[in-house]
């Protein structure tokens, strides 16, 4: 009954006016009332249509973001994890290789220094003409050993140093990989922000709420340009900080 009442209220006066104009033979009034009636119906219809179109449009946008997200989540994020694993491997290998070479070189340099020192003592006695014949023979023998082993050892050390240098190439390789992952993270962020915007249309999201979140496993190395609160920049800073704390 109420819908009929609403219809009566909405259209009653117009229909009465239409009937009146027709009975009175007022063509102009009849046509203008009729136009008004038609326009009122169309307005409602267009409103519905507009709403439908915008719903469809946002559904399509969401679908394209969803499928990009699915792609990112299913393929590229696991890829990125593998790539970062590789970075870990590269840095691990490079660090160990460098330390191996340093550990190999240290004793060689030490041996050379020690032999030189021993000969220096005898050599000084020889220069001051206070060396005994036996000692002189000993010095010459030591000299022979030293010249041969120093040449050989320093050759090895030099080769090791060249390899230490070359090993630092991991920085270029891992840097390239990290750049790629950074690009992916940026893309993921854009897709997620867009998704949040669509699902929350109207309400504002709380930006940066998770920035100060404390993680049990730590934050990893401080990254320049990425604000995670105060950070130290080198060992001197660490020492200064600790001594400021009374250590």
């Amino acid at each position: 009954m109420t819908s009929v009442t609403a219809l009566q209220e909405e259209y009653g006066p117009t229909i009465a006016a239409l009937a009146g104009a027709l009975a009175a033979g007022d063509e102009g009034l009849f046509l203008s009332e009729l136009d008004g009636l038609v326009e009122r119906r169309e307005r409602g219809l267009f409103g519905e249509l507009r709403k439908l179109t915008s719903d469809l449009q946002s559904a399509l946008v969401r679908f394209s973001i969803d499928s990009r997200l699915v792609d990112l989540a299913e393929k590229e994020v696991p890829d990125a994890r593998l790539r970062l694993d590789h970075v870990l491997k590269l840095t691990d290998e490079a660090a160990h290789r460098t330390m191996d070479l340093v550990e190999q070189s240290g004793p060689l340099a030490e041996r050379t220094a020690k032999q030189a020192e021993e000969i220096t003592t005898l050599w000084q006695r020889y220069r001051s003409r206070s060396i005994a014949v036996d000692e002189f023979r000993d010095m010459v023998r030591r000299m022979d050993v030293f010249l041969e082993s120093a040449g050989k050892d320093m050759g090895t050390v030099r080769g090791n140093l060249a390899e230490v240098l070359l090993t630092q190439g991991y920085q270029d390789l891992s840097g390239q990989i990290i750049r790629g992952v950074m690009k992916l993270v940026g893309e993921l962020e854009t897709a997620l922000v867009e998704l949040v915007r669509l699902s929350k249309s109207g309400s504002k999201g709380n930006k940066g709420a998770a920035v100060s979140e404390v993680r049990g496993s730590g934050f990893g190395p401080a990254i320049p340009g990425l604000d995670r609160g105060p950070a130290v920049s080198d060992q001197d800073d660490v020492d200064a900080l600790l001594s400021g704390l009374g250590m």
Binding site: A162, E163, L166, Q168, Q171, D172
Partner: protein, 126 residues
């Protein structure tokens, strides 16, 4: 012999520069991408170009093409030293006229061999 080493990673430029010095090539200049390198090459009397591929600005392949397209530089020996290891890329570089291609990570011996080979071929052609 004057070398230009082009790589966007300064660590890699230092590595290559040091290896070149070890090989007896003391005259080494650095650039961080093709865009910086090209004007240096055009005005700098360089004898040898070693370039990375993947760089922001102008990548190594574009630099190689620009070098080959420049009448004064077209004969310059170019060694590509890069982590780009796809078959089609190596072919593309070869088609663009690269003289040598070394994949990162590389060894000092490989670098020496490639440079020697390029210089030898150039000496034979002259």
């Amino acid at each position: 012999m004057k070398f230009l080493v082009v790589d966007d990673f300064s660590t890699m430029r230092r590595i290559i520069k040091n290896l070149l010095i070890d090989l007896g090539y003391a005259n080494v200049t650095e650039a961080d991408d093709g865009q910086t390198a090209l004007p240096m090459l055009q005005g700098g009397n360089f004898d040898f170009l070693i370039t990375d591929w993947n760089m922001p600005g102008m990548p190594g392949l574009d630099l190689l093409k620009a070098v080959r397209a420049d009448a004064r530089l077209s004969k310059m020996p170019v060694l590509m030293l890069t982590a780009e290891a796809k078959r089609e890329q190596i072919i593309e570089a070869a088609q663009a006229g690269v003289n040598g291609y070394v994949i990162k990570p590389f060894t000092a011996v490989t670098l020496k061999e490639k440079i020697d080979k390029i210089l030898e071929a150039r000496a034979n052609a002259a």
